[in-house]
């Protein structure tokens, strides 16, 4: 499978949609290019000065309101259309479907480390099944990195100290490139990984085998649970819905949280991460401002594990 030639044609539904936007813009811009440059070349040939002719223009027109109105109006409509079409397809790129499987990605100089839900890790190679939506949660351990899948027409920077995401739903089995696009130092151009898309049945089989092989590794959510117990988080937070000193974690993930300052935020990965490292930044309405910071106590991969644990508390 991994020896299959690297595909470039649109490898997902979203990728085809992006290609359609590309073609749409290409048609519009090609029209403007031909219209303007055709006129330019025609004028140069038609009105060029010939020897022996008087060297004076035959027109002194310096303004024409109708013409100027058209060339302000038409491009305005064209760019508005491009913006809108680009925006609607981009919504699909950014909106992760429900039930997406999650894979955590940590980029570092100069490799990608993938972590599956069962806690297994792999370097520079990640496998996903055909037809399954997969969300990659990105972060970086050092400098900025890129995470670019040319065949899927998606890209996202991995930023140290925060989470970003991309998602895809592969339509065909095969081996696809993952490139680093954000300059990151000496090994930048060698920072490449492979996405291997497998038929669902073979994928499940492979996944079970790998899980069995790596039994000693705790699934990510279980590791998170262990961290939570070690750090004593449960003194103030419950996992069953009861209100203690702090809000409960049950159904917390992706829920709307009303803050003391009246704003509402979504309790996503970045929110939870910030609460752990810098709790003073936001306070949930109705709760005291007492949470201590865990900065310097909890490691980055432990935060990721805790978030994975909180996600399970539904």
């Amino acid at each position: 499978m991994s020896s299959a030639p690297t595909a470039f044609g649109a490898a997902s539904h979203v990728a085809s949609e992006v290609d359609n936007v590309f073609i749409f813009i290409l048609v519009i811009t090609a029209f403007f290019f031909v219209a303007t440059q055709g006129t330019l070349i025609y004028f140069v040939i038609r009105y060029r000065h010939r020897k022996g002719r008087p060297d004076v223009a035959t027109s002194s027109v310096i303004t024409n309101r109708i013409l100027e109105g058209i060339w302000i109006g038409v491009p305005s409509i064209a760019v508005a259309a491009i913006f809108f079409y680009g925006y609607t397809v981009w919504e699909d790129i950014r909106t992760v479907p429900k039930g997406a499987e999650e894979i955590n990605v940590t980029a570092r100089q100069w490799l990608y480390q993938f972590q599956y839900p069962d806690g297994r890790k792999s370097i520079n190679e990640v496998r996903v099944p055909v037809g399954q939506a997969v969300e990659f949660n990105l972060t970086s351990a050092d400098v900025l990195h890129g995470f670019y899948l040319p065949a899927f027409r998606i890209k996202q920077d991995a930023v140290p100290g925060r989470y970003t995401y991309v998602w895809l739903r592969a339509s065909d089995p095969g081996s696809y490139d993952i490139f680093c696009t954000q300059y990151c130092g000496v090994g930048h151009s060698q920072m490449r990984a492979k996405l291997i898309v497998m038929p669902p049945a073979r994928y499940r089989q492979w996944y079970r085998q790998e899980t069995a092989k790596a039994e000693k590794v705790l699934p990510l959510a279980d590791k998170g649970k262990a961290v939570v117990q070690r750090l004593g988080c449960l003194a103030c937070h419950s996992t069953d819905g009861t209100v203690k000193v702090g809000p409960t974690w049950k159904n917390l993930y992706e829920s709307r949280v009303l803050l003391e300052n009246g704003k509402t935020v979504i309790a996503d990965d970045n929110y939870i991460r910030t609460k752990i490292l810098n709790p003073a930044a936001t306070t949930v309405k109705g709760f005291p401002k007492v949470m201590p910071t865990f900065k310097g106590i909890i490691k980055d991969d432990e935060i990721t594990a805790v978030i994975a644990y909180i996600k399970t508390l539904k």
Binding site: T36, S60, V61, N64, E68, G86, V159, S189
Partner: protein
């Protein structure tokens, strides 16, 4: 320097011959000499930056480090970018041609603050020296200096950004000088709507420089402080935010691309009417669109960060405003083309470069919507598509505009005509080389080739070979062009005061102009595009 080369025994002393010796240049208060000093320094660095560019292309001839290591490659592309952006494209038209021609075009004897102007050129020279000092540990961050990498690398980032800071101060002071000059020193009768369009574009450029440059200056100071004192505004490990750096950087660097392109647009707006023997079409639309571009340029910086991890709402906002820049830019192009309608078009070298500007800049401009639209920017961002787009606007736009301006004003600056045949040969090579090198990169980028890569998968090699060969053709053309510039200083025909039959004020004084520009300050009664009309 140049005054040694030009013998002008017969005529009145001009700005080149009135005084002689090195110190008469280093301490000159004459805006024309200051402009020439900028021009010499900046064009020298254009060639240096070009050599780095050629080395980058040479390395990419083969996919696997056949010429240099990754580290060396990273230094090469960074130096190419840093030199071309900060030592060439940003200052070249404003500091060199702007200094020389703004007072001449508005009928003034000099800029408002000549001593400040001299101080600016010294600051620029000092900045250049500091930048050169940083080559001891060549910088490897890319010209964008993104943190946290730039805060951690062992390269001489602190020294380099210090040098750029000095050059930024020089840019600000020059811009300040231009703004005050344009406000206060216009000749009697030179109303705002009688200003040559080059002046309008320089005015818009100067405003951007005054407003945007200090922000990047502060950003660079903070980056230096981050490296020197361990503060961490941009370092996530210290509670900082790397995206904050990107916001600040692009708050300057996006308007800065208009600093690069607006002056070139000004030059084109001067050349097209002169060589069409026809008044400019839509004067006010061109003038006001410069101001509109300058203004809206401040609202779009975030389109460099669509995949950087900004909020979705910010992405949408910046994409929307990005498209608002397209319309005033389009207006200019339409007006230039309309100016040629029923003209008497002369295809002298300045006009050929001006037409090349329109042709290639429009390609650069029309590839912008691919990057401004959210859906297509996601795959194209940070690929060769961006490299191609950028070079089509900067090389195809600004540099072609600069070449147009240099060929147009060479007779005025030096008192000699260029050799037309050599100039056209150089143009042909530059045009072909430029298209072979860069057009190809749009497709390379669409196919997924990331930028700033020293090595690459073999499937991209054919296209890299095409680009590299193109870069050689381009280089040959530029060498011939410079040969023509240097040779004609002595060998060129003597230039009459107004070889092109232009109406603007600089052509109403001798070539080269005397030190004080005008024996008597002219009184203006008409706009500078009043070409007569022939009835048919």
């Amino acid at each position: 320097m140049i005054n040694g080369l030009i013998m002008n025994e017969t005529s009145e002393p001009n700005y080149l011959t009135e005084t002689r010796g090195l110190s008469s240049w280093i301490f000159t208060l004459d805006h024309k000499r200051i402009g020439i000093m900028y021009l010499c320094i900046i064009l020298f660095f254009f060639l240096v930056g070009g050599v780095f560019g050629l080395l980058v292309r040479l390395e990419l001839l083969k996919p696997n480090n056949w010429l240099m290591s990754n580290q060396t490659y990273n230094e090469m592309f960074t130096l190419h970018g840093v030199i071309m952006i900060f030592l060439f494209v940003i200052p070249v038209i404003p500091s060199a041609l702007g200094n020389f021609f703004i007072p001449l075009l508005i009928g003034a004897r000099d800029v408002a603050f000549p001593r400040l102007n001299l101080f600016s050129v010294w600051l620029f020279g000092a900045g250049v020296l500091v930048v050169i000092a940083s080559f001891s540990h060549p910088i490897d961050t890319g010209w964008t200096f993104y943190t946290p990498y730039s805060a951690r690398t062992a390269a001489a980032v602190t020294i380099l950004v210090g040098g750029i800071f000095l050059m930024g101060m020089s840019t600000i002071l020059t811009a300040l000088n231009f703004i005050v000059t344009i406000h206060r020193l216009r000749a009697p009768g030179m109303t705002w709507h009688r200003l040559p369009l080059f002046i309008w574009s320089m005015y818009a450029t100067s405003i951007i420089n005054v407003i945007a440059t200090p922000v990047v200056g502060m950003t660079f100071m903070l980056l230096m402080a981050e490296r020197l004192f361990g503060i961490g505004f941009f370092d996530p490990a210290k509670g900082g935010d790397p995206l904050l750096f990107q916001h600040f950087f692009w708050f300057y660097s996006h308007p800065a691309v208009y600093v690069m392109i607006l002056p070139a647009m000004g030059i084109i707006s001067e050349i097209i009417p002169v060589f069409s023997r026809k008044p400019i079409f839509g004067y006010r639309a061109i003038a006001y669109s410069s101001m509109a571009i300058a203004f809206s340029g401040f609202l779009v910086w975030g389109h460099h960060m669509f995949v950087a991890g900004m909020s979705n709402a910010a992405d949408i906002f910046f994409s929307f405003f990005t498209f608002s820049v397209a319309v005033p830019t389009g207006i200019k192009v339409f007006n230039w083309i309309a100016t040629m309608y029923k003209g008497s078009i002369h295809l002298d070298t300045p006009m050929i470069y001006a037409l090349t500007f329109i042709f290639s800049f429009v390609i650069g401009g029309l590839t912008g919507p691919f990057l401004g639209a959210l859906a297509t920017d996601v795959p194209l961002h940070d690929t060769y598509f961006v490299v191609a787009h950028f070079h089509y606007t900067m090389m195809g736009g600004t540099v072609m505009g600069l070449f147009a301006g240099l060929h147009y004003w060479y007779p005025k600056m030096t008192g000699r005509m260029l050799n037309e045949k050599v100039a056209k040969l150089a143009w042909a090579l530059i045009f072909v080389g430029f298209f072979v090198t860069f057009f190809n990169m749009f497709i390379l980028g669409f196919r997924g080739m990331p930028r700033r890569w020293a090595t690459y998968p073999p499937r991209f090699q054919t296209q890299h070979i095409i680009s590299t060969v193109g870069s050689w053709i381009l280089a040959a053309g530029i060498v011939i062009m410079f040969y023509n510039f240097i040779r004609c200083l002595k060998k060129g025909e003597k230039a009459p005061p107004n070889p092109w039959g232009a109406k603007t004020l600089e052509w109403q004084v001798p070539s080269p102009p005397p030190t004080g520009n005008f024996t008597e300050i002219p009184v203006i009664t008409d706009w500078p595009y009043s070409y007569p009309k022939r009835d048919e």
